[in-house]
């Protein structure tokens, strides 16, 4: 009884939830439609409406049910799949293949993704140039706009970018939810620091070779986006590494551990985002006065960001991506979204409402293009 009352403290009445959804409704309408509906293309219109309704229903449900991760993950997974689908579709349309050729590299036609950012910092400082064969300002996924998007998102959300903005994270997040119980329960604590070691190594090797080594040799998401054309033993080895890492860290291990293992153990941008957790105003707080130390939060955390010691000390680690899984799991409402400076246990609803608006707005608008495009393609395929 007590638990039910406490857990329901974050949810709202139907009318109030609708009122909280109204600003999201208006802003997403403006961004998705550009202010007016295009009736000349019924597929585009229908896809836009479906995407628009989807994001707003999910946001409404977050307020109505008081649950965050349950609805966030729906959009997050759809975003990841849509982006890969749209990208692959475009590449097949343009190049008749998922791979890019040497000519695409020479003509600097490779779409930029935020994972390159850790590797381009040192060369940018010393050579005053970007070590990536993409476009600075024009075309799809150009370097300037991706850098701006990531920079603002990481300042505002910190590592929250990994759960509310990264268009790859939805893959291992999705696979980590397939099994109900984990097969592998314990992983060495020090592995949490692996992304920092990867960051160190890729930043160093990229600086010394002026090649984005992570993209060139390691990135598992090449498997679901694009990769170098296999023309030699070296490019074949790279493709084998991409596929193996995708299979291992994005599919198999997340299923076995119920954790986002790629994000936890490999992603170098996750390490930088963890550091920016120090800057963002939004955080997750532990109200020690209410906590009964059931450690359900530790169990469900997908990024190994929580340990029993952390909970006992009343804090979360820098690895927290603010996905909300622990907040949803806590029956006492002891772990909650908070704002830095505001003591734990205070302004829980206010902090959650503000964080949800900021983070969900970013996710909804950032994902809109890819989701609408993939819905449109699916509609054309079906009808």
């Amino acid at each position: 009884m007590d638990n039910t009352l406490l857990s329901s403290s974050l949810n709202k009445s139907f009318g109030k939830s609708l009122l909280y959804t109204l600003p999201m409704f208006l802003i997403t309408f403006m961004f998705m439609t550009g202010g007016r509906l295009n009736f000349s293309d019924p597929y585009s219109l229908l896809a836009t409406l479906i995407a628009f309704l989807l994001v707003n229903i999910l946001y409404f449900m977050m307020h109505y049910s008081g649950k965050t991760d349950r609805y966030r993950v729906v959009l997050f997974i759809i975003f990841a799949m849509s982006l890969s689908f749209t990208l692959i579709k475009n590449m097949i349309a343009i190049r008749s293949s998922m791979s890019f050729s040497q000519a695409d590299v020479l003509e600097c036609k490779i779409p930029f993704c935020h994972l390159v950012i850790p590797m381009m910092i040192i060369p940018a400082a010393f050579t005053k140039s970007i070590i990536f064969p993409g476009s600075i300002l024009n075309g799809f996924a150009n370097i300037s706009s991706m850098v701006v998007l990531w920079l603002v998102a990481t300042i505002v959300l910190g590592r929250g970018f990994c759960s509310w903005g990264c268009f790859y994270g939805g893959w291992d997040d999705g696979f980590s939810r397939i099994r109900k119980r984990p097969v592998i329960k314990h992983i060495n604590e020090i592995s949490r620091w692996m992304p920092f070691a990867v960051l160190f190594m890729v930043a160093l090797t990229a600086a010394l070779t002026l090649v984005p080594t992570y993209c060139d040799w390691i990135c598992p998401f090449k498997t679901v986006t694009e990769f170098e054309q296999v023309t030699s033993l070296e490019s074949a080895s790279k493709a084998a590494i991409f596929i193996s890492l995708f299979g291992g860290l994005v599919v198999v291990l997340p299923i076995l551990t119920r954790k986002r293992t790629q994000c936890s153990f490999l992603c170098p941008l996750g390490a930088i985002n963890s550091l920016s957790n120090k800057v963002t105003p939004f955080t997750v707080k532990v109200d020690r006065e209410v906590c009964n130390e059931c450690f359900k939060c530790v169990e469900v955390c997908p990024l190994y960001a929580l340990s029993r010691e952390d909970i006992r000390a009343g804090k979360v680690s820098i690895f927290c991506s603010k996905c909300g899984k622990c907040v949803d799991a806590c029956t006492k409402n002891a772990i909650h979204y908070g704002i830095k400076g505001v003591p734990a246990g205070h302004l829980k609803n206010f902090s959650r409402n503000l964080f949800l608006f900021v983070s969900f707005l970013f996710l909804a608008i950032f994902s809109a293009g890819a989701i609408i495009s993939s819905f449109q393609s699916l509609l054309k395929l079906v009808f």
Binding site: C108, L137, V148, V152, L210, V342, L354, V358
Partner: protein, 149 residues
């Protein structure tokens, strides 16, 4: 008092972030354009192939000979390349003599059979190594020839 200041500062920063996210997408084009003007926002010559140093114009096509690229992190590397770009309506077989260092001596001759996708070079300069890349492009054909300092 200190606690209150912390609370006010935290909430103010949160609202600033809210505004940042709201203006991010409408202002993205403008922010990106400003970012693109930053001094380091240009693609490294290892990818672009470097600046065009010399252009040879023929009847139906042009050949761009770019500056040799030896760019490293702190200083120039021992090994680099020179990129050649043929643009326009290209013949099936390309034969060109290249003087990339402008010493009025031919450094290498290049033979490209576009149909067979076969490229060979004859080196006359000891610093010319081998063909790194030879590929058709959207504008014609590109070749990178390895160089040593």
């Amino acid at each position: 008092m200190k606690k209150k200041v912390k609370i006010v500062a935290g909430i103010t920063w949160a609202f600033v972030c809210l505004i940042l996210i709201i203006i991010l997408f409408p202002g993205l084009n403008s922010f990106s354009a400003s970012t693109a003007k930053l001094p380091f926002m240009k693609i490294n010559p290892n990818y672009t192939g470097g600046e065009v140093a010399n252009q040879i114009v023929a009847e139906s096509c042009t050949l761009d000979i770019r500056k040799p690229v030896f760019d490293g992190l702190f200083k120039e590397r021992k090994n680099g390349f020179v990129q050649l770009d043929w643009r326009g309506n290209l013949p099936g077989k390309i034969v060109d003599s290249i003087d990339f260092d402008h010493d009025k001596k031919i450094d290498f001759c290049i033979f490209i059979d576009r149909k067979q996708l076969k490229t060979t070079i004859d080196q006359f300069n000891k610093n010319v190594k081998n063909i790194i890349i030879s590929t058709p492009t959207s504008y014609g054909w590109s070749v990178r020839v390895g160089l040593r300092k």
